[in-house]
Symmetry: C2
Subunit: 478 residues, 2 copies
């Protein structure tokens, strides 16, 4: 709904009533559908509840809406003509559908961020405006115009970008590949979605890290997969756990994020990497390696990817432009055997008819430009700076209440709250205090963990953000 204009000569309640009537007539709220409660709408529009009560009364007197005790305020059904007419029961359609909705915590976070632009955002897992190479990307857009034909693109992705990714992977990640083994995707999320939809069948068992961002993705459940846990310790997952899950549950695939794991920040130990590849080759088991964070290595020496050590082709490698440059461009890539790339590209054609050429061209230009090295250096320096601001603030504000390991790369800090706390209460209290984060249970951990993304807030928001968080925590600890 639109916030009423306080400078207008029309009363606030009348403006609200007019806006609602217009939206109903356009079909945004079809006959029979539920309108927001008076309390909620008042909060949303920043007006007194009595103003909304007046607006609803006005609409009720016109027969446009009806209120019944206990069932809220709805758009009238029989206003619209003499014959009984039925709007589809959209509610039932929305509740159906095989694809599961996002987790309630994640929807709550999105809603809170949309409503209150002043919230200090430790929740969104991406680079803040200070870290993205927006200027460089604009310069590239200036210097190189896309002049080609704007028809449907190659199903595997824009060929010049695939060629650039081949050189990039060789130079930055020690991975040897060819452009026909590359699938360009809109990011790691789409890569994972295609893998779960096209290479696995409902009922298949797969192994994921514990904790892991995979738990935050209903796509695994939507695909009907059975999830088994690989506990992450300070050296990452243990390869022998993979073998025992295979023996017990015949897992079909292993999903890991070995470099600065999301959410823990842990790097998989070098010896375990070799062992993991040995287990995979012993069992003929595919490993999906998601590697979005490695170029953020604060010391400038990213860990070696599994894929570069993968002699027999057990690893599907997923990379992305999002966490090293700009998530809003929506460009990622996958390295896989050609038959897998073809299958996934074919399915993606069915889902969205492929990617836009324009961002693919921008990503290709950036990856081979003179800007990338200075950008990465600046990114690392600034991430390290923001990490340290966060750590100092936590140590100052909550010295005895939190515990964490110090990440050496990536965007996140994984933090345990020592006293017992309820995730949901802490989140709501934090929002009331003007700060937001992701509760650990989203990643499948027990209550009492918090993921702070220090990459997202502005540097001068970190200290006040933690101070707000600390007050929120103290409030609920009583």
């Amino acid at each position: 709904m639109r916030k009423p204009d306080r400078l207008s000569s029309q009363p606030l309640y009348q403006q609200i009533a007019d806006d609602i009537e217009r939206r109903i007539s356009y079909g945004e709220f079809p006959p029979g559908s539920l309108l927001p409660s008076e309390r909620k709408l008042a909060e949303q529009l920043g007006v007194n509840r009595s103003t909304v009560i007046l607006a609803y009364a006005e609409l009720r007197s016109l027969g446009i809406i009806e209120s019944r005790t206990g069932s809220g305020t709805r758009v009238s059904k029989y206003k619209w003509g003499a014959m009984p007419k039925h709007t589809p029961n959209w509610h039932r359609y929305v509740e159906g559908g095989s694809f599961l909705p996002n987790l309630p915590f994640l929807r709550r976070i999105r809603e809170a961020l949309q409503k209150d632009k002043a919230l200090i955002d430790f929740a969104s897992g991406e680079l803040g405006a200070d870290l993205s190479p927006v200027k460089e990307i604009n310069t590239l857009l200036d210097e190189n115009h896309y002049t080609g034909y704007l028809g449907y693109d190659n199903p595997q992705g824009f060929v010049p970008l695939r060629e650039t990714v081949v050189s990039y992977l060789k130079q930055y990640r020690g991975i040897q590949t060819t452009e026909s083994s590359i699938l360009i995707t809109s990011g790691s999320q789409q890569s994972l979605y295609l893998i779960t939809q096209c290479l696995l069948t409902p009922g298949d068992a797969v192994a994921i890290e514990d904790p892991s961002y995979c738990y935050s993705l209903p796509m695994f459940q939507s695909a009907g997969l059975r999830l088994f846990r690989l506990p992450v310790d300070s050296k990452g997952i243990r390869p022998e756990d993979v073998r025992s899950l295979y023996k017990k549950h015949r897992i079909k695939m292993v999903f890991i994020n070995p470099n600065y794991q999301n959410p823990t920040g842990v790097v998989l130990d070098a010896k375990r990497r070799t062992e993991l590849l040995d287990v995979a080759s012993e069992l003929g088991l595919p490993i999906v390696e998601d590697d979005p964070f490695s170029l953020t290595a604060y010391d400038g020496t990213p860990p070696t990817p599994l894929k570069s050590m993968d002699a027999i082709g057990s690893v599907l490698y997923i990379g992305s432009f999002s966490k090293m440059a700009a998530s809003g461009l929506r460009v990622g890539w996958m390295v896989a055997p050609h038959s897998v790339v073809e299958r996934l590209a074919d399915a993606r054609q069915q889902m969205d008819f492929g990617l836009s050429v324009v961002p693919q061209q921008v990503a290709a230009q950036f990856l081979k430009s003179k800007y990338i090295r200075p950008h990465l250096e600046r990114l690392r320096t600034n991430l390290l700076y923001k990490r340290d601001l966060l750590i100092e603030a936590l140590q100052k504000e909550l010295p005895d209440l939190v515990r964490f390991s110090i990440p050496q790369g990536g965007l996140h800090l994984w933090c345990r709250i020592i006293p017992e706390v309820n995730d949901s209460k802490l989140l709501e209290e934090a929002i009331r205090h003007g700060v937001i984060f992701v509760p650990g249970s989203v990643y499948g951990s027990d209550s009492g963990y918090v993921r702070f993304t220090f990459a997202r807030p502005k540097p001068d928001e970190i200290v006040p953000g933690i101070s707000k968080f600390a007050s929120a925590l103290r409030t609920i600890l009583g």
Copy 2:
């Protein structure tokens, strides 16, 4: 594979062997995987079969590949180390997965178009380079830089584009809506995919036109839907058929493309539109209106969309930038009740984390620019010109062998071949003659229909293209 360099001093077979070895070592062809047959590879690389035989012999002598009679040539399994190691059985993974592959005809067409760039393309359902406003889009990219933050975008799509689409729909399509009822998608394909995944449940019955491009989309089958047919006559579908399908099968949704229907070019009759909306409101049945072609109306007066007559909110409206401007930008939109938009946006976040901001900004700029009206005028004039070239050529080359109605808008001509022909034989013969089209059976019709997309080939390709098609047809008719 890379075509060998005929100017190189290295023999062709050696270049081919080296390229294959490199690709095997990078994992493009993992141990155990099947290599192309000698004949196929020779064709693909444009060399004699004997050259490929020599290359394979070379690799066999190195133990890198193995050939067994009847089972083709495969990458060796035991070359790679002393221990028995197992590459995942990628073949089995690729054959599994719940998402169905594209239809064989469509994969064949894609393959043929990729292999032979000189094919005259009546198959790709999009605007050719002569019809897309590439220059205008480049000027806009020049004049307006995206300077905002390149973070994840709003799940419903870029707000300025949603606002522009609201004005566009009002001005060009007579549809009244608000930006909170708009979902930006990557095109009609993604809109349909989200609807089938999020609002319908496996086993649900839905009605689609016969013939219809929906048959070409395994997404309907992948979602487990039962499809029922609404025959299209010269005035479109008959509303009473919708009622009887509802009574018999409790259909949950109706998918139609009422303006210049793909593939037939038919416009749904005005009286039937009113009746259809009455049936929908009587049954509380949602109608999905896909409306990509209406602005191509050759006389400049597009048919009125169902959505603009939809008083009670039965219609989900799908529009797109693809068929009126540029398919390669990947921008489309949907108008739906807010609860539907929210559900679909939430699910899309799970699948690909939303759209790139860059093409959305370009689309918004174009839709409100001074370029759009002249572009649409030019588009209509040129489409009409190309349609007439096609009709004249068909009448001249095959006067007694084909029959068709003359479309008044859209990109396609739907053509019946009067003598009995086999779709598959005709397609293969046409490809041999240097021309390609989509066989009617892809759209669920009987054998002997052809969809010619006259929008795609260059104007000077249309007459020679039909002449090649005519020779192909005469060849198989004997």
